[in-house]
């Protein structure tokens, strides 16, 4: 705690983050400077850190828990992936050293790094990768092992060519396959663990991965302690280090109160507090703590509008809604300047995202005009009505985002001034899952918090083609949206796809199908300045594989 505000360590962290985000040339340049042969007396080696987290999730069956916003932290250290996706969506080799695909993107060949082993001694070879691909796709449903939801449903099968080569076959073109391998669901687990029954997989200490750390001990709802794996030597080149990790142990400790997590880090009792309240960040920064608000690759936080439900079947009402929200005030009130205004319905760091901020400006006069035109007349009580019905909007606060309620309250104030009647419903996670769905009969606006790895998958999520999620309840009724979807799915290269993506973003925002609120930061880290050198991947998880701690 003596060097709480050392500017040196701060800048070094920034340097590392920037490095991770830079292009391939920069990566290799920095690799040489950051990875001297790691000897036992490396001064950077050693140290124990404590990470305070608000939950440790539910089951530890790898397939069911990998996408958990909490358990993902542990999986990120205990397991590896085939490819690495950095904070800017750039895909780079990891355990797959290189890959090829056929012209219509239905067959992929993965060439694996050799000499990689799981912590139970099993080699991570082609047959292990096939076992993982199979369980990601199908799960073992009768046993309670779920498939990985976002794994391409077009998967057919995979086969081993030799010990280090896997060939993967798809029923339809699947351009998104390689990026998906870097998604947080695609963690590689030992075939021995995969073969074990569900109840055994649920015991985290019995699960083997190939990551730089192994589980030392754990207790349900309490803590997980990881220790370094000394023979680890296959880190992703993109983070600038491939040998064993530096820190001896990482302990994830559950502390459910956000204020207690922060206060513990402030008083030097722990090193990282996860999900601090945004209100506290400014003063923490002034005290010299490192604040990280990495944005994941995905949709911004906002509403998918149910176009089946009156009055949101009227494009003018949707457009009025788009103009009625003062997004800057949300950032000023609920968040800090670390948050960014939405410029599209996908985060601005996603490759292919384009700036449509002009469509998202706060324009109350325009909103009032549109509502007047649509026939919604302001009554004496300030609420607009049409045919005796009030202009109402029911908001269901998203339980997966801590600030959701506060934002809903603030938006309710903003919309209230323009004549909206707002109801806020806040359900627990279980009830929310049951009652609130896209296009649900009582859900005019579904609050989206969703990451994805490849923007190419977006269009098909929005509509109901190919088992899509039909976010706006449009079905097949919007010809333009369908056309864009099909052209994006069929695009053979990024150069063809990007202009189509741009058109899609503009169209969806103009139509008021999606009402962005702010760019989303679902993971907030408050970190002791003693700890430096961590990296953040494309899904905003912090990895302490490259981190070091000073006294």
């Amino acid at each position: 705690m003596t060097e709480r505000s050392s500017p040196l360590s701060l800048s070094r962290r920034r340097l590392l983050v920037t490095t991770a985000a830079a292009g391939a040339a920069a990566i290799f340049a920095s690799t040489t400077s950051f990875t001297p042969a790691l000897s036992a007396d490396d001064p950077r080696k050693g140290g124990d850190i404590t990470f305070l987290i608000d939950s440790l999730g539910d089951t530890w069956i790898p397939n069911n828990s990998a996408i958990s916003s909490f358990q993902g932290h542990i999986w990120g250290h205990v397991t590896d992936k085939l490819v690495y996706v950095d904070a800017d969506g750039k895909v780079s080799p990891w355990l797959a050293e290189r890959w090829e695909q056929n012209d219509d993107a239905t067959q992929f060949t993965l060439h694996l790094k050799s000499g990689v082993t799981f912590s139970d001694g099993t080699p991570l070879d082609a047959s292990a990768v096939v076992a993982n691909l199979d369980i990601w796709y199908a799960g073992r449903k009768s046993e309670g092992i779920n498939p990985i939801g976002l794994f391409p449903k077009t998967y057919d099968h995979a086969e081993t060519v030799d010990a280090a080569t896997v060939k993967v076959f798809f029923k339809k073109p699947t351009l998104g396959f390689i990026p998906t391998l870097g998604y947080h669901g695609s963690i590689l687990i030992s075939p021995k663990t995969i073969a074990a029954p569900a109840a055994q997989q649920a015991d985290l200490s019995k699960t083997s991965g190939s990551g730089p750390y192994v589980v030392d001990s754990w207790k349900e709802g309490d803590f997980v302690t990881l220790t370094r794996r000394e023979d680890y030597n296959w880190g992703p080149a993109a983070v600038g280090h491939t040998g064993p990790a530096f820190l001896d142990t990482i302990t994830y400790k559950l502390v459910s109160e956000p204020s207690l997590r922060v206060a513990s880090v402030q008083s030097g009792q722990a090193d990282i507090a996860y999900n601090a309240s945004p209100q506290e960040l400014q003063s923490l920064k002034e005290e010299g703590f490192t604040i990280a608000t990495p944005r994941y690759l995905g949709f911004v936080n906002g509403w998918a509008i149910n176009t089946k439900l009156a009055p949101y079947d009227d494009v003018k009402v949707r457009q009025a809604l788009q103009a009625s929200i003062n997004r800057q005030e949300i950032i000023d009130t609920v968040y800090t300047s670390d948050w960014k205004l939405a410029t599209s319905f996908i985060q601005s760091n996603v490759p292919g995202a384009t700036d449509h901020g002009d469509l998202l400006t706060y324009d109350p006069a325009k909103a009032e005009r549109l509502l007047d035109e649509a026939g919604w007349v302001k009554g004496a009580d300030g609420i607009r009505t049409k045919d005796g019905k009030p202009l109402s909007l029911t908001l269901h606060s998203n339980p997966y985002l801590a600030t959701s309620r506060s934002i809903d309250e603030l938006i309710a104030q903003q919309l209230g001034k323009l004549g909206w009647k707002i109801d806020i419903r806040a359900y627990d996670v279980v009830t929310y899952g049951q009652k609130v769905t896209y296009g649900g009969p009582a859900v005019p606006a579904y609050e989206v918090t969703r990451s994805f790895i490849d923007a190419g998958t977006v269009a098909s999520i929005l509509t109901n083609a190919n088992n899509g999620e039909n976010w706006f309840a449009l079905g097949e009724s919007d010809a333009k949206l369908n056309e864009l979807r099909d052209r994006i799915a069929g695009a053979g290269s990024v150069e063809i796809r990007n202009p189509l993506l741009d058109e899609l973003q503009k169209y969806v925002l103009e139509q008021g199908y999606f009402i962005p609120r702010t760019q989303i930061v679902q993971r907030i880290y408050v970190q002791s300045p003693r700890l430096t050198g961590e990296t953040y991947n494309g899904v905003a998880y912090a990895s302490y594989y490259t981190a070091t701690i000073s006294d």
Binding site: S259, E280, V334, Q413, I424, D428
Partner: protein, 282 residues
């Protein structure tokens, strides 16, 4: 605490408490607090000019001052206004809990004690089950089943108090039944229900009433605890328990916890004080 009250409930003297005019100053203060709380819940608009729902975002997290007695919250809303406007819900939910406990528990105890036999046996088992599950655990499970909302938390709190009221009511009914005047009424050929209504109920309810007053204070605390654990109303509701629960996320601005906590404590303490004074002067 309801347990305790069943021990210390006094009876026997018929002198009404109204005859006791001498009121210690602390009791007078307690009455003043309760009157103020009732006034807050009936006409909150008279006590503050601030809007409890819409704040001034630019004035967020201000400390207590002459303009904002309890400071402002994370959305720039006046905390005093939120406390005042949250009173109605806090008080009425505690009332709902008491009514459920007294009515359901009372009916069960009355039937068990008065009818006896298999009715008593069946109801006794039911009460046993409710007693065997810790009160707060029971409330948590019930509120989960019926959904998170302040009214539901009140219902759950009421359900968890049923067993205590049933037990006290039953023993009182049995005692009254055996009293000479009731025996006499039976001998004179009075109908069972008439005797129940005219003799047993009034006598038994006399000892249930002070317990109900205590239960009111207890219910405020239980409902606040449920809100603290996140089983209360969605925003922008401002029940006292919810305010404390929201405030605990902003411990750097301690008034967000201490102001609503102080109001809660003062109210419950006053209610307890009054109930004790009532018993003493009974």
């Amino acid at each position: 605490m309801s347990l305790v009250s069943s021990y210390s409930v006094s009876r026997g003297t018929t002198a009404g408490w109204l005859t006791a005019i001498r009121m210690p100053p602390i009791v007078a203060i307690s009455f003043a607090v309760v009157v103020l709380v009732i006034a807050w819940s009936v006409a909150p608009g008279l006590f503050t000019s601030y809007d409890p729902v819409n704040g001034v975002p630019a004035q967020k997290l201000l400390g207590p001052s002459a303009a904002h007695w309890f400071g402002t919250d994370h959305l720039g809303r006046d905390l005093y206004a939120r406390v005042v406007y949250g009173t109605a819900s806090s008080v009425s939910s505690a009332l709902i809990a008491v009514v459920i406990g007294v009515v359901a528990g009372g009916v069960i105890g009355l039937l068990a004690g008065f009818l006896g036999g298999w009715v008593d046996t069946v109801l006794a088992r039911l009460v046993d089950v409710l007693l065997a599950i810790p009160k707060f655990l029971l409330a948590v499970i019930v509120v989960t089943a019926i959904g998170f909302a302040t009214t539901n938390a009140a219902i759950a709190t009421g359900v968890s108090a049923v067993a205590v009221f049933a037990r006290v009511m039953r023993s009182e009914v049995i005692k009254t039944r055996q009293a000479t005047f009731v025996e006499a009424a039976f001998l004179l050929g009075g109908s069972r229900w008439h005797i129940l209504w005219r003799h047993v109920l009034p006598n038994a309810s006399r000892s249930v009433l002070p317990l109900a007053v205590l239960q009111f204070g207890d219910s405020i605390l239980v409902i606040a605890s449920l809100a603290f654990l996140g089983y209360g109303d969605p925003p922008p509701a401002s029940d006292w328990g919810l305010l404390i629960s929201i405030g605990k996320d902003y411990l750097k601005w301690p008034w967000l916890v201490y102001a609503p906590a102080f109001v809660t404590i003062a109210t419950v303490l006053s209610v307890n004080r009054i109930s004790r004074w009532l018993r003493k002067t009974d």
